[in-house]
């Protein structure tokens, strides 16, 4: 079974929810389509959506909500 990584396009703070009181975009084990939003990266006071970019049957996050991430850092992996 192959796994693909989803990398952060930007450095910043990674959020798993659109707003603090909203549900998570995706939880571990959810299936994803390439256009699905899986989180937000806050960089320099602006917010950017991160889309999965790949499809797969189960996503697993590698970083926690509000963790600092680097550009190119793997933030989740997806089982094909």
């Amino acid at each position: 079974m192959s796994k693909l990584e989803i990398r952060s396009p930007l450095p910043g703070t990674f959020y798993r929810r659109p707003k603090p009181d909203a549900p998570e975009y995706k939880t571990d084990g959810d299936s994803v389509a390439p256009s699905d939003t899986i989180g937000l990266v806050e960089v320099m006071k602006t917010f950017h959506e991160v889309s999965a970019g790949v499809s797969g049957k189960a996503i697993r996050f590698l970083v926690e909500d509000s963790d600092a991430v680097m550009a190119g850092q793997a933030i989740a992996e997806v089982e094909q």
């Binding site: 930007l10 320099m44 600092a68």
Partner: protein, 461 residues
């Protein structure tokens, strides 16, 4: 002066600016920093540095307890809040004073009073400062709003009483839109500022943003003339000038004198800014708000008046009277400031906190670059994108524009996209050169002229 040491409760270019001013006054400097700012220029320049927490501003630069603890442990006499973060937080100013230190600013009382936009408007009216037609105080019901709307007509701005700096503003173009936006704006203001209070002002289209710098020592208040900040994107200033570009002399005098009257009415202490809109078509000025902090664009005023505003505010906080009288304040020439941000103008201003490669800074008469950059500096992604401010002075506006062209050509920040190309385009734009701008100019210009020209050059490339 009864201040011998100062803690800088800020970061970035303004922290560097405050440290330089404090050192010029012979003061010991203490810089607070988050985990993300350990290698910042301000930390390197300060005599001492104290870590105050994690990168997120809420856990460091907005953490009142951590900053007060740092100030106490460093044994400083005073705290300078800079701009943004806690600069206009009255509770922070009170906490500094309660801990036995001096807050370099007008104090919690004045911040609270002028920070409430409704009360500030009332004070402005009482001081004879011209205000935009709108509500006298807060509006809480639709029937109250209807009375105000009869006087203002449409479009109107629905503003949060606790807002400011362009935040918490909605524009309604007609009654239906107003009825939809009004409750929404109140809920949003409650969530954002903890205060759902709203007020209404007529929307002045095609206005210029003009503001007056004031200095007060609690008794005397003087003005250091006006600045113009009409070039804005998403209500954030991008380019500022001193003095204002196109405003008749009698109106300039009204503007400056009314700002002083307002300052005197509240016994203002420190540096402050009274902001106005100038409606060029009607030749009217209208009060917007008072900012009780040093502003990002303060250097243009310093360049034309020769006054060091940051040193002056430290001296005043240290118990001194104003070192100058109104008669001593004179303007020579013209100054322009360009905000250099870590944003890519060719990609819709996407922020990019990269690592600074080579750095070439223009030098010479009439050129100043206020920055926190150095070669090899890794810009943290957690704060705003301002990298520095390029400020030029010339004997008149054409000379300042010519010097700005030279200075921009000489500014090279390697390793990341910046807004330098935006300023290079603006400084050569016929409307900007002629001074034909307003607060809506830049966004329209970006759409029509800038975006298309960058797209075209990308296609050629």
């Amino acid at each position: 002066m009864n201040i011998r040491s100062v803690l800088v409760a800020n970061r970035g270019e303004i922290a560097v600016r405050i440290i330089r001013a404090a050192k010029a006054l012979g003061l010991r400097t203490v810089q607070v920093y988050s985990d993300a700012d350990a290698s910042s220029l301000a930390v390197k320049l300060a005599d001492e540095a104290v870590n105050i927490g994690k990168p997120a501003a809420a856990k460091s630069y907005l953490n009142v307890e951590a900053i007060i603890a740092a100030a106490k442990s460093a044994g400083v006499d005073a705290v300078h809040p800079g701009y943004g973060f806690l600069a206009e937080n009255a509770d922070f100013a009170d906490a500094v004073e309660a801990a036995g230190m001096v807050f370099i600013g007008p104090g919690g009382g004045a911040i609270r009073l002028l920070g409430d936009k409704v009360r500030a408007r009332e004070i402005a009216m009482a001081s004879g400062v011209p205000t935009v037609p709108g509500s006298n105080g807060r509006v809480s019901t639709m029937s109250e709003a209807a009375e105000v709307l009869e006087r203002t007509g449409f479009p109107v701005m629905i503003k949060a009483a606790a807002g400011g700096g362009g935040r918490g503003i909605r524009i309604a173009r007609g009654p239906a839109e107003f009825e939809r936006l009004f409750p929404q704006a109140s809920a949003e203001a409650q969530a954002a500022f903890g205060d759902g209070g709203l007020y209404i002002e007529a929307f002045v289209a095609n206005a210029r943003h003009v503001e007056v710098q004031i200095l007060g020592d609690g008794e005397d208040v003087i003005h250091c003339f006006e600045r113009e900040c009409s070039l804005q994107r998403r209500r954030q200033k991008v380019w500022e000038e001193a003095r204002a570009v196109a405003i008749p002399n009698d109106l300039r005098i009204t503007l400056c004198n009314s700002a002083v009257a307002l300052g005197k009415r509240v016994g203002y202490r420190g540096a402050g800014t009274v902001e106005y809109l100038y409606d060029e078509a009607r030749q009217e000025v209208y009060f917007i708000e008072v900012n009780t902090r040093i502003q990002v664009e303060h250097p243009v005023t310093e360049m034309v008046t020769g006054i060091d505003l940051v040193q002056e505010m430290i001296r005043i906080a240290g118990g001194e009277k104003l070192s100058i009288t109104q008669a001593d304040v004179a303007v020579t020439g013209h100054a322009i400031e360009c905000r250099i941000n870590a944003e890519d103008p060719a990609r819709d201003f996407m922020p990019f906190p990269g690592q600074v490669g080579s750095l070439k800074v223009p030098e010479g008469e009439g050129i100043r670059f206020d920055t926190m950059l150095y070669e090899g500096y890794q810009i943290p992604p957690f704060y705003d994108s301002l990298l520095g401010k390029l400020i030029v002075w010339g004997k008149d506006r054409p000379a300042a524009l010519a010097r700005l062209r030279e200075a921009l050509a000489g500014l090279e920040i390697g390793g990341l996209p910046t807004t330098v190309p935006l300023h290079q385009a603006l400084v050569n734009d016929p409307d900007v050169v002629a001074g034909h701008t307003s607060t809506t100019f830049l966004e329209h210009w970006l759409e029509i002229r800038f975006t298309q020209s960058t797209k075209a050059s990308q296609e050629v490339a």
